[in-house]
């Protein structure tokens, strides 16, 4: 299968100062993969994913999206295939009403007006934005603003969906919406990249994790492998979900399970298996 994103020896140095934000990263992401990007603040996560939509261009190396080198392309051209949900919704929203915000993207894709409206309606239903449609995006609460940001990209149905810290600052209900979104995108066959500090979210939804530390890609593996690697986890100051830590401890003490456990459901079935032994 042709990878949808291919990164070759990517290095990015910001023009202000000599900070090397990402160093010599190579990786491939296949269509339909759900990938988590983790690392401390300042480790280069956002810098890396901004290359996939062309908001940043490599200082050296290559980024190939959908078979095309991003270097000569403009953001507008890449954006038809790649959707980027900003970490800070204030950096993403600009229209005067939520409805205009949701329609901005699909209109730019030259879709017929009834298709645009249909997509807006679907997004409104999915994200429960009915009450907000005629409000100014700046007048609604931060978590909802973030959902509007996701909805505004969702209406474009991009092949690659990049979420930058979608659950930060969210309450339980809006977090559930993020879970639903990622699962829906998976069912629709989209590729999803999710930058997050929320390990519980990642443990549940991603197939693969990229671990960054000081601009280096230090691990590229399944969440189970990453969370089980004590050295990687402590060197990046990341903590696995409590349920995973518990399973690792129990394994250390009693050799209870075959591998690290990622969710409560998994724990229940593992405990059942263990008690049957």
């Amino acid at each position: 299968m042709e990878p949808i994103i291919k990164v070759e020896d990517l290095t990015h140095i910001y023009p202000t100062g000599q900070v090397v934000a990402v160093k010599d990263i190579s990786l491939e992401i296949n269509p339909g993969e759900i990938v988590g990007v983790i690392g401390q603040n300042g480790s280069g996560k956002t810098t890396l994913v901004k290359h996939f939509i062309g908001l940043l261009k490599p200082t050296s190396g290559k980024v190939i999206v959908n078979g095309k080198d991003t270097a000569p392309l403009r953001v507008q051209q890449i954006a038809a295939n790649v959707g980027y949900v900003y970490q800070n919704p204030n950096h993403q929203l600009f229209a005067r009403t939520v409805r205009e915000e949701l329609a901005f993207g699909p209109r730019n894709l030259d879709l017929p007006e009834d298709e645009v409206n249909a997509r807006v309606e679907q997004a409104v239903e999915f994200f429960h934005l009915e009450e907000l449609l005629e409000l100014h995006p700046y007048r609604i609460s931060f978590p909802l603003r973030k959902l509007v940001g996701m909805a505004s990209v969702y209406t474009m149905r991009p092949a690659v969906f990049i979420l930058d810290e979608p659950t930060t600052g969210q309450d339980n209900i809006t977090t559930q919406t993020v879970y639903r979104l990622i699962k829906k995108l998976r069912d629709e066959g989209s590729t999803v990249l999710c930058v997050a500090h929320d390990m519980i979210l990642l443990a549940e939804v991603v197939d693969r994790m990229l671990v960054l530390r000081d601009g280096d890609l230090i691990m590229d593996a399944t969440p189970r492998e990453v969370f089980s690697d004590y050295e990687i986890m402590s060197s990046t100051h990341l903590t696995p979900p409590q349920i995973t830590t518990l399973s690792l401890r129990l394994n250390g003490k009693f050799g209870a399970f075959d591998a690290a456990v990622l969710s409560i459901d998994e724990m229940v079935s593992e405990v059942q298996k263990f008690s049957n032994k």
Binding site: L55, V75, G83, H91, F94, G105, N108
Partner: protein
Amino acid sequence: MQGVVIPISMVPGDSIIHRINPLPKLAWAFGVLVISFATRNPLILSTLFVVGVILILVAQVGNAYLKVAMILFPISLTLIVLQSIAPAFPKPWTPIVSVGPFTIFQEGIYSGISMLLRIFAMTTWAMLMIMTSHPSDIFTSLQKIGMPYVLNFILTMTLQLLPILQNEFAVVLNAQKSRAMKGSGFGAILPSMVPVFVGAIERVQQLSISLESRAFGSSGHKTSYRRVRMTFWDILLIVLGIVFTAGMTYWIIVDKSLDWSETMVFHPAFAIGLVVFATLGFLAFVVIALRNVLQA
């Protein structure tokens, strides 16, 4: 996006001018401002300008100054065009040459040239002051001589708002691009302006809340992290600045022969050439600036 930013801020350095206390620099910049407004004499104005440029070179901030001057010069050229056909001068005006419905006046050319020189004399000295002094040093110094804290704060915030607005503009443009914004050109830029200003107002609101929640306006003496010292030389410079400004102003008021508006006669070819150059210069600037903004 870096291309759109206009760099009017301190250029770090260790030149002799950087080491002078901000107050004498402020006094001289203000003095030049007073003199520039007191006279239209091209010789005085261009001398002030040239001395300012020499000091800019001494301070080694030439590059940053040039960037600002490149923007300021074509814009000020409009003064020549406007003044030449409608001088800010008491009538009667002496016509030099008529082109279609427009008449170029002797007083207009004189006034245009002196206004251009005036702008450059003032801004050069002001740039010299801003580019060689740390902003908080300027405000600490002003506070020391009794400028009210609130007024001082308003000034600081105003200076800070410009880069914030520029940044905000880049952010909104990026957001629109990343949702496949159609088209390019000025029409595409305009819609970003609304959110920029909404965002700016939002920011000011937030600022006022966070200011009040941190006891802004409570009375008491305020201290500053950065300390500024006044040496004997700084005081001497201030005194010289005041004496120079007062002396020049006195001379300008008393000596009527400094008004060259009658004696400096422009050849029609020169007048036309100047106006054409000014028009083309300004138009070229607009075209280049638009292209730069659109490409960014």
